[in-house]
Symmetry: C3
Amino acid sequence: MAKIENRLKEMGIQIPETPVPVAEYLPSVMFDGNMVYVSGQDCRKNGKLLYEGKLGAELSIEQGKECARQSILNCLAALKYTIGDFDRVERIVKVLGFVASAPGFGGQPYVINGASELLTEVFGDRGRHARAALGTNELPFGTPVEIEMIVELKKE
Amino acid sequence: MAKIENRLKEMGIQIPETPVPVAEYLPSVMFDGNMVYVSGQDCRKNGKLLYEGKLGAELSIEQGKECARQSILNCLAALKYTIGDFDRVERIVKVLGFVASAPGFGGQPYVINGASELLTEVFGDRGRHARAALGTNELPFGTPVEIEMIVELKKE
Amino acid sequence: MAKIENRLKEMGIQIPETPVPVAEYLPSVMFDGNMVYVSGQDCRKNGKLLYEGKLGAELSIEQGKECARQSILNCLAALKYTIGDFDRVERIVKVLGFVASAPGFGGQPYVINGASELLTEVFGDRGRHARAALGTNELPFGTPVEIEMIVELKKE
């Protein structure tokens, strides 16, 4: 049973605690019976951002990818808040990723790959999603990456 | 009846006129029978932006929150265009908020709280949503805040 | 039959080849039976960006509109990857457009009109959508415009 949890264990991945929103909103919301919208997540690990700074300045693409990977792990934690069991996932539908970018940096897709690759590794074909990767000048609390996600659940 | 309209009246809130899109798009669109996508709204009040400028420079967090509150009121006006009666709302699903940010500003979540808090005050538990708050360097016509929203309606 | 393909032919528009994602994600994803999320598309034509640079600096509004038009053509190509036949479209639900903006540029809605106008020209009333147009400092590979789209299909 619990296939996805087993897969995470094999990969040596522990899903973080559900991130606590800083205001009147929720980590994720189920709608229309079998869809979930996951709130934007930064690259916090054990309460501290993995890195601070911008791509194209302080951070390398590899460090940015690590941030994207941590952000999507936090998205999975926020998803779990609503669905409990990852085996309920029919499909990761959409990932929207923002990368804090110094002037002239255009490698946002390479950075967000850190999230996309993890999703495919964990969920297989169910993890292959639509995506947009965008740059911006400033993100909350100085996180280099912020990611939100839409998920479809199996119909019961 | 008209519970939400009564609640708005109690709070002394008047929903603005439906904002007129500046092009070939609509204030909001219903899809899949019971979902509504609301177009991005700025902080215009009676045809004029509440403030101009950026967070972390000309504007304080409190002024930014006022902008977010006005933007979400404009989202409610745009929602009304499609649904007529707010009592049809099953759930505010998702809020996506952008904050015009001067270099080094990372307090976007505090700003967008101005929108989230209003939604909970008006809709109660139905108003608790998923959310992402992001920074950017420039927004349309110099608005400090722009917000879009996804809403689920009750099934009939 | 094939009404939309005929309309495209009348307009002298050829839908580009499906854009190839640069990573583990898909051009578009169907979900919930009759919804499609289209991945973010830049203004590439025959493998090369139509323009490079920013609005408010190197590029005019007209050039930006051309970029938005090309980006939405690439969205249609990415949509075709999933649905095959454009006559399956019930409604273009939502367009989210980002414009690479030099300091002080606030005309993003005029730029994204290049996409909105094309959708209405091709799909008529079915092409009228909800929308948000936003500015940002940097976009992938230096594209001046990036657009993503949500589409509802006819129920079978």
